[in-house]
Amino acid sequence: MLFFVAPLGFLGYQSLQTGTFDTGYTFDWAFSNYWDALRDYHDQFVRSFLYAGIATIVALLVSYPLVYWIAFRAGRWKNVFLILIVAPLFVTYLVRTLAWLNILADQGPVVGFLRDIHVLGPDGRLLATSVAVVAGITYNFLPFMALPLYVSLEQIDARLLEAAEDLYASKRQAFLHVTLPLSAPGIVAGTLLTFIPAAGDFINAQLLGTPKQYMVGNVIQSKFLDVLDYPSAAALSFILMALILVGLLVYARAVGTERLTG
């Protein structure tokens, strides 16, 4: 608790200061830092939530069938496939993202293929576009979506599905009325674990994107390290935190809190 509250308190204190690095900062309830931050970096906030939202949805759509298959069909290969999902986490976040620089390179196979099938024009590219950034985020946070999903799918008693079929439910109905509701805690946990860090991410935007793809994380980083404007960096961090918290509450209200806790 101390390790959480103390830095947060300091950050809050800092976010209400004015001054510059050269002259020193003084505390004077400068709430204007917050309005300035929102006004100046409105675009980056929107972009952060948009990218994180898309990445979360894509990660869910990709990992659900994958994990479903592992949980119900992979049999004795279950563990192998699970390890394959987790394996990327053994490599540093940065290295994984840098690898995408090669995968999506202009001369690389992915871009070549997309040009061949005319999805991309002859001069089209993926790197330095929003697509690359969202793809990077999706890839990097996919395991955090897949693992909680797996846990909840794995726990489903197969006899429930048999019972559903005995009661003349079609495969589709059984899925919609049995599997999907029972895996809801996994979906909720997975989306949270994916969305929250994704919204604060800056590595993908920096390495795979251009300034036009920069997210709030990039702004905070540059405010702290380059501009040395600690108050507005702190204010930006607080706004991000508050927005995520609000989003979380709305989400919790919408899906029902009992599902949040499983």
């Binding site: 510059t20 050269d22 540093t92 001369q107 330095a128 251009t210 036009k212 501009v227």
Partner: protein, 382 residues
């Protein structure tokens, strides 16, 4: 983001810029070495030296730094060598809190760059110890051009480690020579295949020179003109992105046709890719210098003893042969002419007087102008 990540092209060694955002220094900063500190007049038994990755000679076979071993053999002073500076801003962010509270950071020498604001800030804030010049007779080997920089006119606190130049590099397979910012920013053939450096002391001065302005005396008008021009090139999609030295790999692969680039990186890349070319733009480029300073609490005699050691041209030549940046020590070229004639004749490592005449220093006041800093970050997109 101002990051000059590594001085030697990491690509070559397969590390591909991995260090660029990692924070190994956070951990290393806790390490400390025995014996030093106090800022007193006594020689310590260990020198604690923070530098950029791959920025000193290194023997692949023994995994050691030969000149550091030589220093220990000669003086009895052990060296704790930390490659924990990946970006001026990031490193400054780490050390500024202890220094502002008057605490030592357990380092005797750190290396910061003069075309970013942080070196000047360290000196202005008084967070540095004076050099003990009695212990540095070799200071007489300092090249004339480096004797009186604006941030430290008498070299009271700092000595150059290496210098480098910022110019334009291009890949001959993708384009003909790119010799001006105008061409780089406005030639439609290069659209989207160009990057610029994210350092405030790199890209803006190059553009100012192209505008016919003097980057060593920045005015509001010349600054605004440069910002507008860079912004226009971003908006038009000409500039693909702003980089640290992560331009190296895409430039070598051909994803980029041209880039604003550092001389030493390109010299290193040349051995694996002869298609790369580098030149200062015809209207001029930038020369910057990484400077050794002694942070408060470091041992000035120990640090000064080491500085004297590296200002021996023989040692400077050994280091230059590895790092391929411009050495600040008179006599280095003559020694390299025997051991590595190819390097000794390279314009990238030993620029001719004609090249040096085109290499300008950036205004150190502008670097510290808060409004400019913020405007530049806006252009960078954050």
């Amino acid at each position: 983001m101002t990051m000059r990540m590594t001085r030697r092209a990491l690509v070559q060694r397969g590390a591909a810029g991995v260090t660029l955002l990692s924070l190994p220094g956070l951990l290393a900063a806790c390490g400390g070495g025995g014996g030093g500190g106090g800022g007193g007049g006594e020689l310590a038994d260990t020198l604690r030296f923070s530098n950029w990755p791959l920025y000193i000679d290194f023997d692949e076979k023994t995994k050691k730094h030969p000149t550091l071993d030589e220093f220990t053999a000669k003086t009895g002073i052990k060296v704790d060598y930390f490659e924990d500076i990946n970006s001026n801003g990031e490193y400054f962010g780490k050390i500024q809190r202890p220094l502002s509270q008057g605490n030592s950071i357990d380092r005797d020498i750190i290396v910061l760059t003069d075309n970013e604001r942080f070196l000047g800030l360290m000196i202005d804030k008084g967070w540095v110890e004076e050099l003990d010049k009695d212990l540095i007779p070799n200071i007489s080997n300092l090249i004339d051009a480096q004797k009186s920089p604006p941030f430290d006119p008498d070299r009271t606190y700092s000595l150059p480690w290496q210098s480098g130049m910022t110019g334009i590099a291009w890949n001959e397979k993708e384009t003909g020579p790119v010799t001006s910012i105008t061409q780089l920013f406005e030639d439609p053939k290069l659209k989207g295949k160009v990057t610029a450096l994210n350092g405030m002391g790199d890209t803006p001065p190059l553009v100012m020179l192209d505008n016919g302005d003097d980057p060593s005396k920045v005015t509001d008008a010349s600054w605004t003109a440069a910002m507008d021009r860079i912004q226009a090139a971003v908006d038009s999609g000409q500039i693909r992105k702003f980089t640290g030295n992560d331009y190296a790999q895409p430039l070598s692969q051909g994803d980029l046709a041209a880039a604003i680039a550092w001389s030493g990186d390109i010299y290193q890349l040349l051995s694996s890719n002869p298609n790369l070319k580098w030149a200062l733009p015809t209207k001029g480029g930038v020369i910057w210098t990484d400077n050794m300073i002694i942070p408060t609490g470091g041992s000035a005699p120990t640090a000064s003893t080491y500085m004297n050691f590296v200002y021996d041209p023989k040692i400077a030549a050994q280091i230059a042969a590895y790092v391929a940046y411009v050495p600040p020590v008179e006599g280095t070229k003559e020694i390299l002419a025997k051991t590595d004639p190819k390097m000794a004749s390279s314009e990238l490592v030993f620029p001719s007087d004609a090249t040096l005449a085109k290499a300008h220093q950036f205004d150190s006041n502008a670097l510290n102008n808060q409004t400019y800093v913020e405007q530049w970050q806006k252009v960078l997109g954050a």
